[in-house]
Symmetry: C2
């Protein structure tokens, strides 16, 4: 079969929700196979229907439990749910470490739920690109709702959350000042804040602190962020506060993604995604340029012996591209 | 004064440890001023004397307290200490949020200590580049020891830690499974592991878990990582376990950075830094190319309406550079 035929056949199968072909496409995209990229591009016209919810926040905040409860909630409402679980990984081995996702696995036998784990692979920007790709495949497969879960609260997570329509930041009472600093860093990407484990001591104070931080961060117009209290691990039925969290997400959806404002926002989002793709393509080009460049051992020795400075060398490499 | 004169005068002043001129250089580097880059390059031949220790780990692990205690320890040994405190920041406003560094501030009046905070600024790779620059300035200023402290455990932190000779990962007993997953992600950059708050319940189990994870992660040769228990906030004299932590750092220094192996390692480090600089220069170029490109609004509309896919557009932008 020729490549166009193969692409077209794969597109048909993925639109028909063929799990095996879809999973293989995601793997092939990870391996940067050209035919996989062609398939992804051919799928793109069929995307744009899924509503994408990002869930991030401090480690130990129970994000997986919140995601699990949201899956149950959306399934209960008859929606099909795709999940992208972004895992921390070794910068060297490229292997993914799965966190404690045991509860989520109860959905593994439900064919209305598709869970895909992603590792960082140590590429600059590679994680956000991969997330964007997997979300597009899930969208084309007809999942109504795509949840992106990240572990951690760094720049990676901020970049990954750009793929979401609504970002939920999960926090938890009483984790100390270090956490507060991080929360402030990620606060501006939050559209909805969930205070999970809200039966713990200190939930009132955490909510007060969050409101205070939102006020502090607001220069000019204060972003309208709802705060919802959840106890996600209470029972298998979805936990306490989960319908309220889902309702807050829907309110954000209605407010942010409808009408003329929604169109403006969608265009800004498309531009941000293009910019991200451009940056990662250039990073790959730089890696290849450095790998192909002979004499780097001599250059390294010159830097170690302080005969040449690394900034001038880097400028020369970029200039030679 | 001509620029070469100005650069030469600034270099002299920074080598003479002029705090005001050095601080201004760091600010000007942040603002990407060409004259600042020229000064940095001229300073490079005078660097290479400082020993650089990176300290990272889970939020809530008491990293700032460990850093504070290490500063006191090194000062007690007569060393001059530079500190780069990498803060989480808003991806949008560019403003730095200082964490709880109150204890560290007791060193603010000690002119043998220089503390510089860095924000992420939302640039891909920008944080590691800035860290590298500030470390070089502190090195040229004659600080014997430079400590890099990061908040968080993502790819950013892994990149930032590449500037260090010895990386210390600070962990803490009893933070749950989510934390364990993150720890595994950052474990491979650890040269020394500190179990802080070691008087808490669960320190034995944490140490066992860490040993187990080190074994699991070792494919072939097991990396030789020392585990040290600390209670960094015990008293102002440096806390319990800090001399032991400092000794473990020195053992790593002697093992990794001396002899022929040290030379090989230094060259690999120089290459990694050049690669990082190349990536960030390319990212800046991409940002400029996108900003300069007219008609992006029309392109964004085509993506939103699914008439064009973002991957093909990104490839066209990169191809046109």
């Amino acid at each position: 079969m020729t490549e166009p035929d193969l692409v077209s056949r794969n597109v048909d199968r993925i639109l028909a929700r063929d799990i095996r072909v879809s999973a293989r496409l995601m793997r092939d995209l990870d391996d940067r196979r050209p035919a996989a990229m062609a398939t992804l591009k051919a799928l793109f016209p069929f995307t744009g229907k899924a509503f994408i919810v990002g869930i991030t926040g401090n480690p130990g905040g129970g994000k997986s439990t919140v995601v699990d409860a949201l899956i149950a909630h959306y399934r209960g409402a008859g929606e099909r749910v795709g999940v992208v679980a972004v895992d921390p990984t070794s910068p060297f081995s490229g292997g993914a470490i799965l966190g404690d996702r045991i509860r989520m696995q109860r959905h593994a036998t439900d064919d209305g739920v598709f869970i895909r784990s992603l590792a960082t692979r140590g590429h600059l920007g590679g994680l956000s690109r991969s997330t964007f790709e997997v979300v597009a495949v899930l969208d084309a497969m007809g999942y109504d709702r795509v949840l992106i879960e990240t572990v951690g609260v760094g720049q990676d997570e901020v970049d990954v959350m750009k793929a979401a329509h609504t970002s939920v930041v999960v926090t938890v009472p009483g984790l100390g000042d270090d956490i507060q600093a991080i929360k402030a860093g990620i606060l501006e990407i939050a559209d909805v804040l969930a205070v999970n484990k809200a039966d713990r001591e200190g939930a009132d104070r955490t909510e007060r602190d969050l409101l205070h931080m939102l006020d502090l961060r607001a220069e000019g117009e204060r972003k309208d962020v709802e705060i919802v209290r959840t106890i996600a691990n209470r029972g298998l039925g979805g936990g306490s506060g989960i319908p309220e969290l889902a309702a807050a997400i829907e309110r954000h959806r209605a407010k942010a993604w409808s009408g003329e404002g929604g169109v403006v926002r969608a265009r800004a989002r498309a531009l941000a995604q293009i910019a991200e793709l451009v940056r990662t393509l250039l990073a790959e080009r730089a890696d290849r340029a450095l790998a192909a460049r002979g004499g780097m051992a001599a250059v390294a020795a010159a830097v170690v012996e302080r005969r040449q400075d690394p900034w001038s060398i880097a400028e020369a490499v970029v200039g030679s591209l």
